[in-house]
């Protein structure tokens, strides 16, 4: 098992190299003058050149690349041209917000999607099943940013039940950062008021993010449940008199979940890169907003850094899912 994990970690090296090469190529080969943008509207040509020199942007691309990779070995993701802050520090500050959002969304999606998928499979081909299939495709078709706007319009603007955006009311002093997840840090600090505020702020963006994974997980769970229910061992269990409830909840559910896990893993990685729009709608200070801001000013170091971090998290999420898969399905363990 340890060997398995180690091998997967070693396999990350080419991923990192490939990712940085691709992102570097995009950053340098495409048109646009990020330096002029960063230097500001009143900058002279000399100032722009000085800035380019300061950031080594006047050197050949491959020199820049090796400098970057050299820094990477020390955990240095470069410096933002615009803010001149180290990208690694910025990402460390924004990543927890994105992770908190994605994890909350996945928790909602899994907690509702799996039972719902199981239930619709068990009652398949009856009207609740048909209805849920339509609703599920509808949920997948719903643009997350439009859903976010609708939620905001309803619950924050008209009803005024929930805050418009952000992670905490600014007047609430955030708890000391332990995990970076405000919902957890507030609990650690024992500040129930701040915790409730953090939850309220998280609610709408998490729901907006969760809808399409929820629907996909539900559909996947339904399909794999149906597949499992057609398995011989389920027929055997029925033939040998196991009660229906026990067959479904114990024998079917576990095997169906193991097939659904793959989707959960893929979605987790996909959501990490897909928070951009929801973060924009809800002013959620995460990687998506950070990357958007950098992209618009063509500040490429943060963009490369974000792509790298998300890419690695994507790979890591799949590793975790593979390990979980082994836990649920003993047959593939250690392979």
């Amino acid at each position: 098992m340890l060997y398995f994990i180690l091998r997967r970690i070693v396999l990350l090296v080419p991923v990192v190299i490939g990712l940085t090469v691709i992102m570097f190529a995009i950053a340098r080969l495409l048109p646009g003058d990020p330096v002029a943008l960063a230097a500001g509207p009143n900058a002279t040509q000399g100032e722009i050149e000085a800035l380019a020199h300061e950031f080594g942007l006047d050197r050949p691309v491959w020199t820049q690349y090796f400098t970057y990779v050299g820094g990477l070995l020390h955990g240095d993701l470069g410096t933002s041209l615009l803010t001149r802050r180290p990208v690694a520090a910025d990402i460390a500050a924004y990543l927890p917000a994105t992770l908190e959002l994605v994890i909350a969304a996945m928790l909602i999606a899994v907690a509702i999607g799996i039972p719902l998928g199981l239930a619709t499979a068990v009652w398949r081909n009856r009207w609740p099943d048909y209805l849920s299939q339509v609703v599920a495709i509808g949920a997948i078709s719903m643009p997350r940013f439009f859903l976010g706007l609708l939620l905001q319009l309803c619950f924050a603007m008209w009803l005024m039940w929930l805050p418009l955006g952000g992670r905490l009311p600014i007047i609430v002093i955030p708890p000391p950062s332990v995990t970076g997840f405000l919902t957890i840090d507030t609990l650690i600090a024992g500040d129930m008021h701040a915790f409730s505020m953090a939850m309220r702020h998280l609610a709408m963006p998490a729901i907006a993010m969760s809808l399409s994974p929820l629907a996909t997980i539900m559909r996947m769970m339904r399909a794999s449940t149906i597949e499992v229910m057609n398995q011989d061992y389920v027929t055997t269990a029925r033939a040998l008199g196991l009660p229906r409830g026990k067959i479904i909840l114990k024998y079917v559910a576990r095997n169906a979940i193991s097939a659904t896990l793959t989707v959960i893993g893929l979605y987790f990685g996909w959501l990490l890169g897909g928070t951009v729009l929801v973060e924009t709608v809800f002013d959620w200070p995460g990687l998506g907003l950070y990357a958007t801001k950098a992209i618009i000013s063509q500040d490429m170091m943060p963009v490369i850094g974000v792509a790298l971090v998300i890419g690695l998290l994507f790979v890591a999420a799949n590793l975790v899912i593979d390990l979980l898969y082994g836990v649920i399905n003993p047959k593939v363990r250690y392979s």
């Binding site: 002029a36 100032e47 803010t83 802050r85 915790f195 409730s196 505020m197 939850m199 609610a203 200070p285």
Partner: protein, 524 residues
């Protein structure tokens, strides 16, 4: 029973999380009640780029500096006048070349050290050496050698050239504590250090900040500044959507919103507890034309377009704004309200069109605008609509700002129509006249191509003259000449639109960078 109330709250939070219905709780009120101190919350769309008063630009940076640092002179009142800040008094020589400032003896930095003439000299030197940020305002006027410390409490400026607006630009050059910066000089004049640290003497200092989210300033315990309100602190909160800013204001989650649109202002009209500040400010919006290359090099076509433009639509789309009358902002020194300018008149447009070499139209002009700037997009569409009447097509291209700037470098790359906002950083006609119409600025975004020697001469005379009456005369002539050349479609002055809770006390509007709120006099 603290515990039980806390439990109720957390359960509410959970209910909210689950999307279950819950009664409309008095969410914002509780917040403020809980904080228990007077913290002013300002919602703004602009992040503070960095803390260095000599490199940072943008109104968010201006807000930051105005509250953390002190200049020699502040600007206050309407119309704006220079008022004492670090300098308690000043004198000017008759030729307008020498200024002497007496520093306030009580002024001290956050470190407790007094503000001395040395610090002032150092700060001006640093600003000029770095040549970033606001230094362009004094470039060519103040030289490093020209600033000297007469004694610890007196600074003398010998200007390189007479400059009528000198006192108007001084509020934008801030004073840093020399010893603090020199202790952290590094290889870059302390740029790296000042980017995230401060060495100021202002009434507030930074206590907490999250980049891209909020900046929390707290009142300096023994601030030297006289007067002042009851604020314990100010929070500059980054709220990108203006509609969100407005809703926060309505809900009491913010005290001041600084980026509101006309639509937001309309929506706030009858909002309880909200005060709207809608005031003219020296912020012009006009559309520059390529007077050098392409069809618009023909003054008749420029005039035809100036007449065909639907000014009413521009005004409608802008909401709270006034049409410009010529090149200078309404109400500024020398402004002539009776100037004959272009107004929508299809007959005249066709008349001038007939004098061009393509009287039937049938060609395409190109207009660029800053992508994401909603007002500019609207104006581009209005121009497209207007030009149809002359059978001229308009190609609209949104560009990022640096690409816009790059396009200004030569008449060949400059588009036919180029919208520009210009904010007067100081309340003097020279600011706009020099920046936007002097030929020395050609190649820059404020005046890429237009040049007229007669206009140049008038501008130069205007900035060197210190007698206001003579200046009015000069600028009157200047306005006529520019209008005759029609280098711009003179657009409008957008009024400053601020929203405020009625709990904000002692606010007085000044039409200079009024979105960079000075918090010191305010109370809650």
């Amino acid at each position: 029973m603290t515990t039980s109330t806390q439990f109720t709250i957390s359960r509410r939070g959970l209910l909210a999380m689950a999307g279950a219905g819950l009664a409309a709780t008095s969410f914002p009120n509780r917040l403020f009640a809980q904080s228990g101190s007077n913290i002013l919350i300002i919602a703004s769309g602009q992040d503070i780029p960095n803390f260095d008063p000599h490199t940072a630009t943008g109104y968010s940076a201006s807000f930051f500096m105005r509250n953390i640092y002190d200049p020699l002179v502040r600007v206050a009142g309407n119309p704006p006048e220079p008022v004492p800040a670090l300098a308690e008094s000043w004198t000017m020589s008759a030729d307008g070349l020498t200024y002497t400032f007496k520093l306030n003896a009580g002024a001290k930095f956050h470190s407790g050290n007094p503000v001395t003439a040395d610090d002032v000299v150092y700060s001006f030197g640093r600003a000029l050496a770095l040549a970033k940020g606001n230094s362009w305002m004094i470039r060519g006027i103040v030289t490093p050698e020209g600033v000297t410390a007469v004694d610890a409490g007196t600074v003398e400026f010998k200007l390189a050239t007479p400059f009528a607006a000198f006192l108007q630009v001084l509020p934008w050059i801030f004073v840093v504590e020399k010893s603090a910066v020199e202790a952290n000089l590094g290889a870059d004049q302390g740029e790296g250090w000042l980017m995230t640290n401060t060495a100021g003497s202002g009434p507030f200092q930074v206590v907490r900040f999250e980049v891209g989210t909020l900046y929390h300033l707290a009142r300096v315990a023994d601030a030297w500044q006289p007067g002042g309100g009851n604020l314990d602190g100010v929070i500059w909160q980054i709220v990108r959507e203006t509609a969100t800013q407005r809703l926060m204001l309505q809900r009491g989650e913010a005290h001041i919103a600084v980026d509101l649109t006309s639509e937001d202002m309309d929506a706030l009209k009858d909002a309880p507890g909200v005060v709207r500040v809608i005031e003219p400010e020296y912020r012009t919006f006009s559309i520059k034309m390529n007077t050098e290359k392409g069809p618009l090099a023909d003054v008749n076509l420029r005039k035809a377009i100036s007449y065909v433009t639907n000014y009413q639509s521009i005004l409608d789309a802008a909401g709270y704004a006034d049409l410009m009358t010529g090149p200078l902002p309404n109400g500024i020194l020398g402004f002539n309200p009776d100037l004959e300018v272009y107004r929508t008149d299809l007959e005249k447009a066709k008349e001038y069109m007939a004098k061009t070499d393509k009287p039937e139209g049938g060609f395409t002009l190109k207009m660029v605008h800053v992508s994401g700037l909603e007002q500019q997009r609207r104006w581009a569409l209005i121009m497209l609509d207007s030009l149809k009447q002359l059978n001229i097509d308009l190609e609209i291209q949104p560009l990022k700002w640096p690409d816009m700037v790059a396009a200004c470098q030569s008449p060949e790359t400059f588009p036919d129509l180029f919208p520009v906002y210009q904010t007067a950083n100081y309340g003097d006609p020279d600011n706009i006249a020099f920046a936007a119409y002097h030929s020395s600025r050609n190649g820059g975004w404020q005046n890429a191509v237009y040049h007229n020697p007669e206009v140049d001469a008038l501008i130069e005379a205007g900035r060197a003259e210190i007698d206001p009456a003579k200046r009015v005369e000069i600028y009157g002539e200047f306005q006529k000449k520019v209008v005759a050349d029609a280098p711009d479609i003179f657009g409008l002055l957008e009024r400053r639109k601020l929203g405020m809770r009625d709990s904000v006390k002692d606010y007085h509007f000044t039409p200079v960078a009024s979105n960079a709120i000075e918090a010191w006099p305010l109370s809650l």
